[in-house]
Symmetry: C2
Subunit: 145 residues, 2 copies
């Protein structure tokens, strides 16, 4: 597997796009973001570093990073985009508590296996998938009683 930089460059090349300092900075910073983040978080971090990149460029670059596979879009309870760094082979999903808003990651081979089977049986190429269980965590459930 190539380095992130190389993969990003490759995608840009393939699309006839240019490798600009802004895109480099956005990519580099995105890869250092831990956990989930949104466009605004990334833009803030860049601004604090005096890495002058416009909000528009951040918004324009994020989809490219997703396309490259360096980021993944996650979390759909909110109505705006959330991202996380995408470690290949490290697919996971989220349990979201509607009461305390906790987000618990989970990994479960049999979910993955079942989804792979679904994609195969529908002649569908699974580029990415999103799995989210929305409900109540044990703590909140107990507090309600």
């Amino acid at each position: 597997m190539d380095s992130p930089e190389a993969r990003f460059e490759e995608l840009l090349l393939a699309k006839g796009l240019r490798l600009t300092p802004q895109r480099k900075r956005i990519m580099a910073e995105a890869l250092t973001m831990g956990g989930h983040f949104e466009a605004e978080d990334l833009h803030d971090r860049l601004r604090k570093k005096k890495s002058r990149v416009s909000r528009a460029s951040v918004y324009r670059t994020l989809p490219l990073l997703v396309e490259t596979g360096l980021l993944r879009e996650v979390e759909f309870v909110d109505r705006h985009a959330h991202y996380e760094v995408s470690a290949p082979g490290d697919s996971h999903a989220h349990l979201i508590c509607t009461s305390c808003r906790a987000v618990i990651e989970f990994r479960h081979a049999s979910v993955e296996r079942a989804l792979a089977e679904v994609a195969r049986s529908h002649d569908f190429e699974d580029v990415t998938h999103k799995v989210e269980i929305v409900g109540l965590c044990g703590k909140c459930r107990r507090q309600m009683k």
Copy 2:
């Protein structure tokens, strides 16, 4: 299982809310929507029927219908809410083609089973879950080559 009307009334009662003509109309119309729809679609249909209900009331009522279990929120590729009528026990998920935007429903018992197991093992109550496979359908994949 009670009728939709009864279930909705029950929820309103439980929350100290009122059964208004607007809420009734919105519920009735929502249940006749086939496939996926958005708030605006529902509002349009009501307007065409000269069923005067404000957009605000539609937006305020949709979450109540989801809470009642009459509707389900689906589809998260777009950034705004999509709904579908929720037939109990008829949980299903979606394959979404990023090229032709086709949305294919699928049902797969082993996905359901795996998710139930995940919820159980995390002491989590699964109120609803969302499963979406994003990628390329067979037709688009072949056209690309």
